[in-house]
């Protein structure tokens, strides 16, 4: 029903004896994850380091991370939700249909063994990546991973953590939560924050063509979004703030070059476990920072006649 049972990365380093990576390939995408935070370091309560830990990799294919794993569980593409739901039942000693389990690419015996290992862990952790959260089922796959881990706590200590990709996307969640009360997908069109993923999430907004101007910063949707979304960005006024002239800049009405985060721009970023870290820029950029440019745009907006939703009429409603 929601919620997350998690920890900071040092807890994993100091305590975890059972580590699962699901739908992620840290060897390629988070190269220091194994050596700095999880698998390899000697922890306070895992003095043996790597030898004191078991690693299970769950993925649809054998990635370069597989050679770091003790056990590889290869699941058929798009079957993660079925597997996790089965695991949730097995954790509670509930019966499952062996033939339908086998359709996932894994056998009931493999999953029962997996559950036994999870329950016997002293401190277990499940990291899940975009191979889980961006495939069919999306947020429900993440919810499944979170639910499985929460329920394992009836048997042993277990935590989970999403392997957030893009630089400071964690920071965006954190900042939006404290300023608006919601983590992403917030509309201010009525003058106060409203949250509804699917309605106010960017891809949906752009594909439906709901918005009539876009400010893009710290992203390049012109390179990654589906074509209808890109077409809409080109059709309506788009403004890009980026250290480079990006794909999106080329279809935008306005591009402003900004200093690179952490190299020339100072400030704060959040690690995937929501630990805030200071930036220490080494180069002085000829360009202003995102922070400064957004502030300047805001100041210009403030010079115009104010948009005052607080003075609008109350809308009668049943």
């Amino acid at each position: 029903m929601g919620g997350k049972v998690t920890c900071t990365l040092g807890e994993v380093k100091n305590r975890a004896d059972f580590i699962i990576y699901w739908g992620g390939n840290p060897a390629d995408c988070h190269p220091l994850h194994f050596s700095r935070y999880t698998l390899i370091p000697k922890g306070k309560h895992v003095p043996e380091g790597r030898k004191g830990r078991t690693m299970v990799l769950v993925d649809v294919r054998e990635t370069p991370s597989a050679k770091h794993a003790d056990i590889l569980l290869q699941v058929k593409p798009g079957k993660d939700f079925e597997v996790i739901t089965t695991l949730r039942a097995l954790v509670k000693n509930q019966p499952v249909d062996a033939a339908r389990v086998a359709e996932t690419g894994l056998t009931l015996e493999q999953l029962q063994d997996f559950v036994d290992r999870m329950k016997n862990a002293r401190f277990g952790v499940l990291f899940f990546g975009m191979g889980l959260s961006m495939t069919r089922g999306k947020h429900m796959n993440s919810a499944a991973a979170l639910a499985l881990v929460a329920e394992l706590n009836a048997y042993t200590k277990f935590v989970s953590m999403p392997m957030r990709g893009h630089g400071n996307v964690t920071g965006a969640d954190v900042v939006m939560r404290w300023t608006t009360g919601f983590p992403f997908g917030v509309s201010m069109s009525r003058g106060y924050p409203r949250f509804n993923p699917g309605e106010f999430s960017t891809i949906d907004v752009l594909v439906r063509g709901d918005n009539d101007a876009t400010l893009v910063l710290g992203a390049d949707p012109g390179a990654t979004m589906p074509q209808p979304a890109i077409d809409h960005l080109a059709r309506t006024p788009t403004i890009v703030l980026d250290p480079k002239v990006t794909h999106t800049s080329r279809l935008a009405r306005v591009h402003i070059t900004t200093a690179t985060t952490g190299i020339s721009a100072p400030g704060t970023v959040y690690r995937m476990d929501e630990i805030p870290l200071p930036l220490k820029p080494i180069l002085e950029s000829p360009y202003p920072t995102d922070e400064e440019v957004v502030h300047r745009i805001l100041e210009k907006v403030k010079e115009k006649p104010a948009w005052t939703p607080a003075s609008y009429k109350e809308v009668p409603c049943a």
């Binding site: 739901t85 009525r190 949250f195 948009w307 939703p309």
Partner: protein, 269 residues
């Protein structure tokens, strides 16, 4: 009757929660024209986007492609809302009573968290029908939603009571975390009944099942006879005669409980 006709397609979505029989039935034509709606971030008068005819009526009819007009019939308790064309998101959300008819297609979150009334959609509908909004523990608690065509994701998510009928195909996660009530499907894609606690899902064609649903038996439940008679009034024919076939019964979702029932119709022969 009050008739509203959309004059032009809005460039950005309109929010028009004032458009329910509860509100319009008390208003004269001038007041109706002046009803506040939101066009993106700006508050406008209703007559800036709609031709407004009639006044003081519990029958409200909207003509045109209102697929970008959100929150029609929000929280309505009585009366009739008829959309000749398409309807936008959140149609009949929090509805308590009355009737909504859509001749065309409807969007996502129709009848979300509703507690009474009837919504009929002649075409296709989107996802999260009768569902709970993100974070809320309970979706619809009473009422009926009938969709002639297909539906999107998470139909009936966390619903507690009431009936949803999708005559066509529903996408993934129909009956997700369902707590009670009934969903009748022409068919469905994946993960039907995922994490359901209680309630009944009936599919009239074979559907893929999660490994956490267990086969019980094949039978013709007596409650379906009663139910079928009720639904016949809404133009829905639910097979129940033993001569026609029987229902395979499964219980689940064992990931959370085994008290939910999934019935899959198997025609005789």
């Amino acid at each position: 009757m009050i008739t509203l006709t959309l004059k032009e397609q809005p460039e950005v979505p309109i929010e028009a929660e004032a458009l329910s029989p509860d509100v319009v039935s008390k208003l004269g034509n001038d007041e109706l024209r002046a009803l506040p709606i939101f066009y993106g971030k700006r508050q406008l008068r209703l007559d800036e986007f709609f031709e407004v005819e009639g006044e003081l009526s519990e029958e409200l009819e909207i003509h045109g492609d209102a697929s970008r007009v959100k929150w029609l019939g929000r929280g309505m308790t009585h009366g009739q809302l008829r959309i000749v064309g398409n309807a936008g998101m959140h149609l009949g959300a929090f509805m308590k009573g009355g009737t909504i008819d859509v001749t065309g297609n409807a969007s996502d979150w129709i009848g979300a968290e509703m507690s009474g009334g009837l919504i009929r959609v002649g075409g296709n509908a989107g996802g999260q029908i009768g569902a709970a909004y993100r974070g809320t523990l309970t979706g619809m608690t009473a009422g009926t939603i009938v969709v002639e065509g297909s539906a999107g994701l998470e139909v009936g998510m966390r619903m507690k009571r009431g009936t949803i009928v999708i005559k066509g195909m529903a996408k993934d996660f129909t009956g997700l975390e369902m707590k009670g009530g009934t969903i009748i499907l022409g068919g469905a894609e994946l993960r039907t009944g995922a994490w359901m606690n209680r309630g009944t899902i009936i599919s009239l064609t074979p559907i893929p099942l999660l490994p956490t649903f267990a086969y019980n038996c094949s039978y013709n439940p007596t409650f379906l006879r009663v139910y079928a008679r009720e639904l016949a009034g809404l133009g829905i024919s639910l097979p129940f005669e033993e001569s026609e076939g029987s229902y395979e019964s499964y219980s689940g979702d064992a990931a959370v409980s085994r008290k939910g029932e999934l019935l899959v119709w198997q025609p005789a022969g």
